[in-house]
């Protein structure tokens, strides 16, 4: 059990997923989210808002 658990943790570290599983509070329910997906969704929502003309006030 201990060895398996250790192996699993090690595999997760190697695959970069060790910090993608927050263990406390409401974040537990959002384990499937990682920043890769989050950036994709936020980016597409911004594109959608821009298409709806809601971001026309933003300039650079």
């Amino acid at each position: 059990m201990g060895l398996n658990s250790e192996k699993k943790t090690k595999d997760m570290v190697i695959s970069g997923q060790n910090e993608k599983t927050p263990s406390e509070g409401f974040m537990r329910y959002f384990q499937w989210i990682n920043e890769d997906w989050l950036s994709l969704f936020v980016g597409l929502i911004i594109v959608l808002l821009a298409l709806l003309g809601l971001l026309d006030w933003i300039t650079w």
């Binding site: 570290v13 190697i14 695959s15 970069g16 997923q17 060790n18 910090e19 993608k20 927050p22 406390e24 509070g25 409401f26 974040m27 959002f30 989210i33 990682n34 920043e35 890769d36 997906w37 989050l38 950036s39 994709l40 936020v42 980016g43 597409l44 911004i46 594109v47 821009a50 298409l51 971001l55 026309d56 933003i58 300039t59 650079w60």
Partner: protein, 378 residues
């Protein structure tokens, strides 16, 4: 919730304080976002003061953003009372998230830029051939020089090679996201891009004038060589109107390749992430593949002139919004990077970049003469 260790994401290795929980970390990030926006605005405002007579400053906003971040972080670290709080706060900074959101949005701008290619008169084919030749061969030379001769890490080499072969800062950002490079590697690459562009911006047009190159050849040489778009336009203008037009055409043709380069880099580095692994399973490949690249390509396709779901005006607006995200991300890079991070890398990245630039200079000189001066001169 954070991504891989030792990547663009926060690395907590230097922290001597216990890291905050994911929830607290995100809450702090959201609460401090207005400050970040203010600093991003400052990085946008400063070029207008330093270079007031141009709408496209040569020293781009990203440089000011990194410097602002560096100043704040070094001051906070130097003051004992704020040092511990800063080290804890450092773990809440979301550099990679901001960069990737920016890149998803920036895809639309790249797609819309294809519209500019439609107005290329007779030089499109020459510009396209030169772009393909330069991107592929300069990338290979830069990458292998950086890895084999200068012993740089493969991901760093990929970011450097993309910057020198495609189009400077934005290509470096896209490549860094695609290969999950370290943030200090991205900052170092951007510094090199700007540092090289400044002198080359003057050297190229005057060499072309001195050696009496035909205008189109000079323009193609400048556009295929200098890495930042602003410096390309400035150098072209020094030479003359025709050279400036051609330089812009060649540069845009190279710029629009970023999406494809980012996609292939993401795929390559997902495939060969573990050196001892010959063939990862499709599931593992999918797990490793940076998903934002899908968004980047999707918005690029939607903004293509042929598709037109994202109109040109909206794509330009999205390009501006992306710059806000990039500016915030580069402030974050400054906030989480120390000056010693740069000095530790030594001269090797500069050496690799120099070799790649020399090769790029010679190659584009030859291709400019052959393609623009001979094959497609009519």
């Amino acid at each position: 919730m954070t991504d891989r260790n030792n990547t663009l994401e926060n690395d907590n290795t230097e922290m001597k304080v216990p890291p905050l929980s994911a929830k607290t970390s995100y809450l702090i990030f959201i609460v401090t976002l207005p400050v970040l926006i203010l600093l991003a605005w400052t990085s946008n405002f400063l070029p207008r003061i330093v270079e007031p007579n141009t709408s496209k400053p040569v020293i781009e906003y990203v440089v000011y953003a990194v410097i602002i971040g560096l100043i704040i972080s070094n001051v906070l670290v130097a003051i004992p009372a704020s040092s511990t709080t800063y080290r804890q706060f450092k773990g809440t900074i979301r550099t990679e998230l901001l960069l990737k959101i920016g890149l998803v949005i920036y895809g639309a701008k790249i797609g819309a830029d294809f519209a500019k290619i439609d107005v290329l008169a007779g030089y499109f084919l020459a510009a396209f051939l030169q772009a393909m030749l330069v991107i592929i061969t300069v990338f290979m030379v830069a990458y292998y020089t950086a890895v084999k001769i200068f012993k740089l890490e493969a991901k760093f080499a990929a970011v450097l090679a993309t910057a020198v072969s495609v189009c400077g800062v934005s290509a470096a950002i896209a490549a860094a996201g695609a290969v999950l490079a370290e943030k200090k590697q991205l900052a170092h690459t951007v510094t090199l891009v700007i540092a090289f562009s400044l002198p080359l911006m003057f050297i190229f047009p005057y060499v072309a004038l001195f050696l009496d190159f035909p205008d189109v050849v000079a323009g193609a040489w400048i556009g295929g060589n200098i890495d930042t778009t602003a410096a390309v336009l400035a150098a072209g203008s020094i030479h003359g109107e025709t050279a400036a037009d051609l330089a812009a055409i060649v540069k845009i043709t190279q710029n629009v390749m970023i999406g494809f380069v980012a996609f292939f880099l993401a795929l390559y580095f997902s495939f060969y992430e573990k050196k001892d692994e010959l063939r990862p399973s499709p599931k593992e490949l999918w797990t490793r593949f940076p998903k934002f690249v899908i968004g980047f390509l999707l918005t690029m396709v939607l903004a293509l002139p042929l598709i037109g779901i994202i109109p040109l005006e909206t794509a330009n607006l999205l390009g501006n919004i992306a710059k806000w995200f990039f500016a915030m991300a580069f402030v974050c890079i400054g906030l989480t990077t120390t000056l010693s991070d740069f000095t530790k890398m030594g001269w090797k990245p500069t050496g690799a970049y120099t070799v790649a630039t020399i090769y790029n200079t010679i190659l584009t000189l030859i291709t400019s003469f052959v393609l623009f001066g001979f094959l497609f001169s009519g």
